[in-house]
């Protein structure tokens, strides 16, 4: 089973065909800058070197810095 990525604000999840991948590599795969996104798995904040494995679903959302 692949990794399912729900990107906040987008209607359809993206499916990434990997068995195991680090968060930073997953974001790169999706073309997302890791300094602008937060990744959650089951409500837990993941950091760059955390791994996601096949069958898991994560939520990714962009963080805005302006004021």
């Amino acid at each position: 089973m692949p990794v399912k990525v729900n990107i906040a604000g987008e209607r359809k999840p993206k499916i990434v065909e990997v068995s195991r991948i680090k968060v930073k590599d997953l974001l790169a795969e999706l073309g997302l800058n890791p300094t602008e996104y937060v990744v959650l798995k089951d409500g837990e904040i993941l950091v760059d070197d955390d791994e996601v494995v096949d069958g898991e679903a994560i939520t990714v959302f962009t963080v805005k810095s302006g004021g």
Binding site: G9, E36, V38, D42, F61, S65, G66, G67
Partner: protein, 247 residues
């Protein structure tokens, strides 16, 4: 948070007559007895300051090191062309005093640093992050953590923004929530003019809920606003690890 003390003058009773039926005289007195630090008097800060002052909080400290620039006027509704080149904190003070002279406003034209921020944070009930960079946000975040003060955060860009409320000891701090962000990054704010207004008012809503003890503040929750799709998605934070708040 201080208790409910004092009274409302006839002028205040009339001024707040459209919200007293909602929150009662006791609620209005809670607002009057509250003190808020607003860090930043830009796009978010303009909306936050206008409404907190209009609604009748008791005391506000506003800190901003900036001068009013022409490129601010697209979104920073406290200022006009007459204010260009003047300190935002000072201009904000004069505008807001005219809006509601009952509110005690302390303008601070200064950069937020670890050296100066503690005295301001520890003297208020709630802190509002209306800043535009992460380096300063994390200084504020640490100070709020040290003194156990609620911190209402928002950030904006383009058509988007996020809001959350940090309660030391109950939620992750800002640093662990956004540990991946580039702290040193400083670039001009790129945002549609109305977005800081929308998100700033969501910050006001958080402050009001905290002061009045009503509703559900966004604790352990991030509200992600997408103005293009009119969506306010709430993401729940269940677990976190951090070197700042879990030391």
């Amino acid at each position: 948070m201080r208790g409910v003390t004092g009274t409302l003058s006839p002028e205040e009773l009339e001024r707040y007559s459209r919200q007293i039926p909602v929150i009662g005289v006791e609620g209005q007195l809670r607002l009057k007895n509250s003190s808020i630090l607003v860090a930043g008097a830009g796009g978010l800060g303009s909306a936050v300051l206008y409404y907190l002052v209009a609604m009748g909080v008791g005391r506000i400290i506003v800190i901003d090191e900036g001068l009013v620039e022409l490129s601010n006027l697209q979104r920073q509704i406290l200022y006009t062309v007459d204010d260009i080149g003047r300190p935002k904190a000072t201009v904000a003070y004069h505008k807001l005093r005219k809006l509601n002279p009952n509110v005690e406003i302390t303008p601070v034209h200064a950069r937020i640093t670890e050296e100066i921020i503690d005295d301001y944070v520890k003297s208020v009930d709630v802190v509002v992050d209306a800043l535009d960079n992460w380096e300063t946000r994390f200084i504020l975040d640490k100070a709020c953590w040290r003194f156990g003060k609620p911190l209402v955060h928002a950030g904006v860009g383009e058509f988007y923004g996020q809001v959350t409320t940090i309660i030391p000891g109950k939620t992750p701090c800002l640093r662990c929530l956004f540990q991946g962000v580039d702290k040193a990054e400083k670039k001009p704010v790129i945002v549609m003019g109305h977005i800081p207004g929308l998100l700033g008012l969501l910050e006001v809503n958080e402050v009001i809920k905290i002061i009045l003890g009503v509703g559900e503040p966004l604790t352990n929750k991030l509200a992600l606003f997408n103005a293009k799709t009119n969506s306010l998605e709430i993401v729940e934070i269940k677990k976190f690890e951090c070197q700042v708040c879990q030391e």
